[in-house]
Amino acid sequence: MSHSEHHIERNSLSYGIEKNVEVLAQKCYQCGKCSAGCPVADQMDFPPSMVMRLLQTEIPANDEKILRSNSIWLCVTCEMCLSRCPMEIDIPSMMDYLRQKSRSEKKVNKQAKNIIAFHKSFLNSIRWTGRLFELGLILDYKRQSLNLTQDVTLAPKMITRGKLHLFPNMVKDMGHLARIFRKTSNSSK
């Protein structure tokens, strides 16, 4: 347990972040280098450095803003922020935690609908086949996102280039994989 942890407001998001991913929000001195290098900062409600600042306040209303923001979902985990952060703050791990927290508290931003739909379809695909079945993924994603017309021209082109299999390539020991999914399901809320 770090020394500073004693001082973090118990009910705040900062506390959970320090506990779970060992990122200390107070380390951020707001230089903005993360936001300056972030490829998607311009589309975020709050660029990464602003997320850090909101966390530092330890005010419930600000925590709420973060969990409901599009920022945590637009983060593509390119890790540029961590790579250049002078304080070596692991923002990518923190974002992973915030996404899982946002989902478990049912505070997911509307704009994240497609992104989550995709992630879910992806995990569904490997849950059933063990390996990614791209056609299955696309169909499941369309079902989840209701973007039925998206990429209708792409799939045929992929098929003609041999890039899209019509049948899944399965892991043999699917029972094993199913058990892995089951055992880790608690942390996926």
Binding site: C78, H119, G162
Partner: protein, 281 residues
């Protein structure tokens, strides 16, 4: 020593071209690659976005399978899978408690001893020493080497090339006769896993990467990641629409370029499967 191969899902599907070029090189240089039996998906971005434990368990199963089959060294051509595997190895090494928990989840012994090579490390180790006498058609083009995110970051964990302006791929390219251009977009993000869910973001980010490569006078963008390739190549129509222009620069896997340089046919290295025509060969 036997080298294991973890192809990952893309290489069996949308990045079949990449797989073909890796196999073609292995064949041409007499290298044995043993696919890890019954491998599974590494979980990619989706797993660590939604479920941390799963994002460690899936790669751990792969690594445990490699260990079980006596594969002390495995090559992982997909940069995304490479990153997930190395990060998992690192996390579990750092935290023995977590390692025990994951071992329990995957019901297998996991030691974390496998040496994980990305495709360039594999090329450096096994192909570069044999390369000079094999080159028949020097790849005499200006190239923009695009590393993307996952080959170099998180830098302290991967401990591979330098995080800013990496050089390893550029060096490989000079060895086959190509001239790498100074390219500031080497490690900028292409949009990664947003290909389907946020095509607009991919179009924007990938477009910048392509535009700058063309501006620098490159004849081709060289990549080592199927996700980058699909964004820069397969998404080209979307990109062109977004940027209201016609970017023409082809996107070639590093293995394909080497294949061409040693005289393999475009078909053999999978070039015919690209969306953007590769006219340079």
């Amino acid at each position: 020593m036997k080298t294991g191969l973890y192809p990952g899902c893309s290489l069996t599907g949308s990045a079949r071209d990449y797989n073909e070029s890796v196999s073609a090189l292995a064949e041409a240089f007499g290298l044995e690659l043993i696919q890890i039996p019954d491998w599974n998906c590494c979980g990619a971005t989706a797993a660590h976005n939604l479920n941390k434990e799963l994002s460690l368990a899936l790669p751990a199963r792969i690594l445990a399978l490699a260990e079980k089959n006596g594969l002390e060294e495995i090559v992982v051509p997909c940069a995304a899978c490479y990153s997930r595997l190395v990060v998992t190895q690192h996390e579990l090494k750092k935290n023995p408690e977590l390692k025990n928990r994951i071992s329990e989840v995957i019901e297998m012994d996991y030691r974390g001893t496998s040496r994980i090579l990305n495709v360039i490390e594999w090329i450096d180790k096994y192909i570069i020493p044999l390369l000079p006498e094999k080159i028949t058609k020097p790849f005499n083009y200006k190239v923009a080497c695009y590393y993307g995110c996952l080959l170099v970051r998180p830098n302290k964990v991967l401990n591979y090339d330098r995080a800013e302006d990496p050089q390893t791929m550029d060096i490989v390219m000079t060895k086959i006769g190509a001239q790498p251009v100074d390219y500031p977009y080497k490690t900028e993000c292409c949009g990664a896993g947003f290909s389907i869910s946020r095509t607009d973001i991919v179009s924007k980010l990938s477009g910048k990467i392509i535009e700058d490569a063309e501006y620098r006078g490159a004849d081709a963008i060289i990549v080592a990641c199927p996700m980058c390739h699909s964004n820069l190549d397969m998404r080209r129509p979307d990109i062109n629409k977004y940027w209201k222009t016609e970017f023409k620069i082809p996107v070639i896997f590093v293995t394909q370029a080497i294949g061409l340089a040693i005289g393999l046919s475009p078909e053999k290295v999978g070039l015919k499967r690209h969306f953007v025509d590769v006219k340079i060969s």
